[in-house]
């Protein structure tokens, strides 16, 4: 079993990380009733308590440290670096957030293997939808509390004190689903390095839009096959995306479907066939689907799906980021705060924005191929 080290950075990172560990333990506890430190749990947790093995004692929590992506690359070049990054929404409370974002983007561009951009607005929209569902009071509909993608492990109340708690739990669930195939068994396993291999056709184009489904499970025990297919449809609906973007009207470079629960290869294939016609894939990757089947579903669900799309629909997000940056930078507003810090120069800013411009251009070039007919290229001819 491969092991992963989670590096949680900053307030946002640490708050999300905190939710993650709670949920991860809950997930393993559901599978591992006796609380024995086993192979699956060793993928994320070190066993600090040496009494544990075979004893059924308590499970210890994981340890974290804080380093940055670039340092990780220097120190551990062979290890894959996955980054979930929260992108600021339009109405941001931090004035200089465009500067921070652009500078961070440069690092992510060059030193991360895979980035999963997420925006707060999408997370907030998901919570609103769930609250609506939970409070609708429809006759007979009750939601399993633990199944809420927004619930934390100890949550008994359906109302959330602060929206950030609920939002962080969504991201924590994303991380759990991302790593489920590496932690639990299944008929078609997918490790983190396979995600990077299959979803990153060119080194710069490593930004993946994620969709999580289901967001909750009703207490209705009967789940007919129609509901299973509905799960696949939902993964391609904007309501379930963690980033505001429009993949259906943009170009797919690659797409991964990570399925958990009692789902078989025939279910997977049936749904891909069904959904394919409404999606546009780049000419050299018409069958660009990477799939995995993990037998263990998340707590409170019978099955779940995480879709990761490498799609040109991320371009508007980056263009908006660049625009907001330019508005500030043109006036050199607040720049002196940054330049006072040792090692920061104006060239850092210009390099960062030009790196982002280059990225946007790559997406432009791909978009230009969108409605062109797919042609087979002439093959090598062999003299017989």
């Amino acid at each position: 079993m491969t092991q992963s080290v989670v590096v949680q950075v900053g307030q946002c990172g640490n708050q999300i990380g905190c939710c993650f560990w709670d949920l991860a333990l809950r997930e393993h506890a559901a599978v591992n009733q006796k609380g024995i430190y086993d192979e699956a749990i060793s993928s994320f947790f070190r066993n600090v308590d040496t009494r544990v093995v075979g004893d059924g004692g308590s499970i210890s929590k994981g340890k974290i440290c804080s380093l940055k992506a670039r340092v990780l690359e220097d120190e551990f070049p062979e290890v894959y670096r996955f980054v979930t990054s929260i992108y600021p929404s339009g109405e941001d409370d931090v004035i200089t957030s465009p500067y921070n974002s652009i500078l961070a983007m440069k690092e992510l561009n060059e030193h991360a293997d895979c980035v999963l951009p997420i925006d707060n607005q999408s997370l907030f929209d998901i919570i609103s939808k769930i609250d609506l569902m939970v409070n609708s009071g429809k006759l007979g509909t009750t939601v399993k509390p633990k199944s809420l993608v927004t619930s934390s492990s100890g949550a008994l109340k359906k109302q959330h004190k602060k929206p950030f708690d609920a939002m962080n739990n969504i991201v924590a669930n994303l991380l759990l689903n991302l790593t489920s195939s590496a932690r639990f068994e299944g008929s078609l396993n997918m490790d983190l390095n396979e995600i990077s291999m299959n979803l990153v056709p060119f080194p710069q184009l490593h930004y993946l839009v994620s969709s999580l489904t289901p967001l909750y499970t009703l207490t209705d025990v009967n789940i007919p096959p129609r509901r299973l297919d509905q799960m696949f449809s939902d993964a391609f609906s904007k309501d379930h995306q963690l980033l505001r973007a429009d993949p259906k009207h943009s170009l797919y470079l690659a797409c991964a479907l990570m399925v958990r629960g009692n789902v078989q290869i025939s279910d997977l294939r049936r749904n891909i066939e069904r959904l394919k016609p409404s999606l546009q894939f780049v000419s050299w990757n018409q069958e660009g689907w990477k799939t995995s089947l993990c037998s263990v579903p998340p707590v409170g669900h019978s099955h779940s799906l995480l879709a990761l799309a490498n799609n040109t629909c991320v371009k508007p997000t980056f263009m908006e980021l660049k625009e907001r940056f330019m508005r500030l930078y043109k006036k050199k507003a607040h720049l002196h705060h940054y330049l006072q810090v040792e090692g920061m120069e104006e060239s850092c800013f210009t390099e960062a924005v030009s790196s982002l411009s280059a990225l946007i251009q790559e997406y432009d070039q791909l978009d230009a191929t969108k409605n062109m007919p797919v042609q087979d290229l002439p093959r090598l001819s062999i003299a017989m």
């Binding site: 491969t2 291999m197 690659a254 990477k290 001819s381």
Partner: protein, 418 residues
């Protein structure tokens, strides 16, 4: 009863060695770069109580190959060469009459494909007098691994050099068998693997060594290769067997050899993957005349020309089965006489739950179209250079890709021109 004992003994001797307490141990070596699957496999085997894998017959690592052929071939291969070859050597030493290796792998992923190719090459170097047959899983056309076409062309081109024969099983074909013939609603990989195992068993379970003999064949691998691979340029073999049925249907069906063989022959000449929906409008060319059109990859309707065929029949009244239809010279290329191109092995003992069953192992144009498709898709992707950086990172360069394309275009052309 004696018959059955002899069959069991032959099967046991070939596939198992024995431990002191009498539990048969599979003559197998398991290799993977991550532990989950091997652990599952070992415990499943032990659960049966009737056999198990050897304690030290596994080689496992922690990190996987990331679906990367280059990683499996250039990193894992050299790194673990010594350990893996040592385990293999120990297993070979346990054999009294060792004939060769049967290597089971997929070509879509990173370990089976890349490390599998590396190990096969090593076996060629270290055991050059032994036979090597690779059993390869041909991935679904869509949706398993995005870089599967790259991994496939690298695997096939390398194996063409170091293996003696490639026995290819297509996931798509087996999936259809599960859906249409076995009536399985929610098809799992376990179902697919059962059909695969059945196909392998129907080929490699004991068979009589000659028309009227009652001794079991001692070297089926060798005999098979001798019959089916007369020329090193033509190594691709495929399997078609009949019947496939669910338990329920079986109770209500009776088979005749004439019926089974007629279907099997039509499957052969019309390039059908299973015994339903066979195209009845394909006929062999009139004998003495050249085929109406050289195989065109664009036409759906064409006649499947064979180099060599082997039919294995198992079951009641097998001696009465008439295989003359398979000796028609029109089925074969002109450079082998039908008496050399066609062989039949008949065994009275039935296989699995089928009173009568037939399997065809064929070296023919069966796989040209799928191969051409994979090469085409890989070529389109290569032209855009997509994913190439993932391979060059680990030492597989663009020239290596070009070499693979060239080799496989050659194979496609050779088979097309039969």
């Amino acid at each position: 009863m004696r018959e059955n004992e002899a069959y069991q003994a032959s099967c046991k001797e070939r596939f198992f060695s024995e431990e002191e307490n009498g539990v048969p141990i599979a003559r197998a070596v398991l290799v993977d770069m991550e532990p989950k699957v091997i652990n599952q496999t070992l415990s499943k085997a032990a659960q049966s109580g009737q056999w198990k894998y050897g304690q030290h017959a596994c080689f496992c690592q922690k990190q996987g190959s990331g679906n990367n052929w280059a990683y499996g071939y250039s990193v894992h291969g050299p790194r673990h060469e010594e350990s893996i070859m040592n385990i293999i050597r120990k297993e070979v030493e346990k054999c009294d009459s060792f004939s060769g290796f049967f290597i089971i792998m997929s070509m879509a992923g990173g370990t089976g494909s890349g490390l599998g190719a590396f190990v096969t090459q090593n076996l060629e170097d270290q055991y050059s007098n032994s036979l090597k047959m690779n059993q390869i899983i041909w991935p679904y056309g869509t949706g398993e691994v995005i870089v599967q076409n790259y991994n496939s062309i690298l695997t096939l081109s390398h194996l063409y050099r170091s293996s003696d024969a490639l026995l290819l099983h297509e996931n798509d074909a087996i999936h259809k068998i599960c859906a249409k013939l076995m009536n399985i609603k929610q098809i799992s990989f376990s179902d697919i693997n059962q059909v695969l195992a059945h196909q392998l068993g129907s080929v490699f379970q004991p068979t009589y060594s000659a028309e009227s003999s009652f001794h079991y064949r001692r070297n089926p691998l060798g005999d098979l290769m001798e019959h089916l691979v007369p020329h090193p340029e033509f190594k691709m073999l495929s399997v078609r067997n009949i019947p496939h049925m669910s338990e329920n249907s079986l109770a209500y069906t009776t088979f005749t050899w004439a019926g089974l063989l007629k279907h099997l022959r039509q499957m052969l000449i019309s390039n059908a993957k299973m015994e339903e929906g066979i195209d009845r409008h394909v006929w062999p060319p009139l004998s003495g005349l050249p085929p109406l059109s050289k195989m065109s990859l664009n036409k759906d309707l064409h006649f499947n020309t064979s180099i060599a065929n082997l039919v294995i029949l198992r079951g009641k009244d097998v001696q009465s089965a008439d295989v003359e239809g398979f000796k028609d010279p029109a089925l074969y290329t002109s450079w082998l006489k039908p008496v050399n191109a066609f062989n039949v092995w008949k065994t009275q003992r039935a296989f699995s739950k089928y009173e009568k069953s037939a399997v065809l192992v064929s070296n023919s144009q069966f796989l040209v179209k799928p191969l051409d498709m994979i090469v085409g898709k890989a070529w389109n992707m290569f032209a855009s250079k997509a994913y190439i950086h993932q391979y060059t990172k680990f030492g597989i360069e663009e020239e290596d890709f070009l070499d693979s394309f060239t080799s496989l275009e050659q194979v496609v052309a050779s088979y097309c021109n039969l």
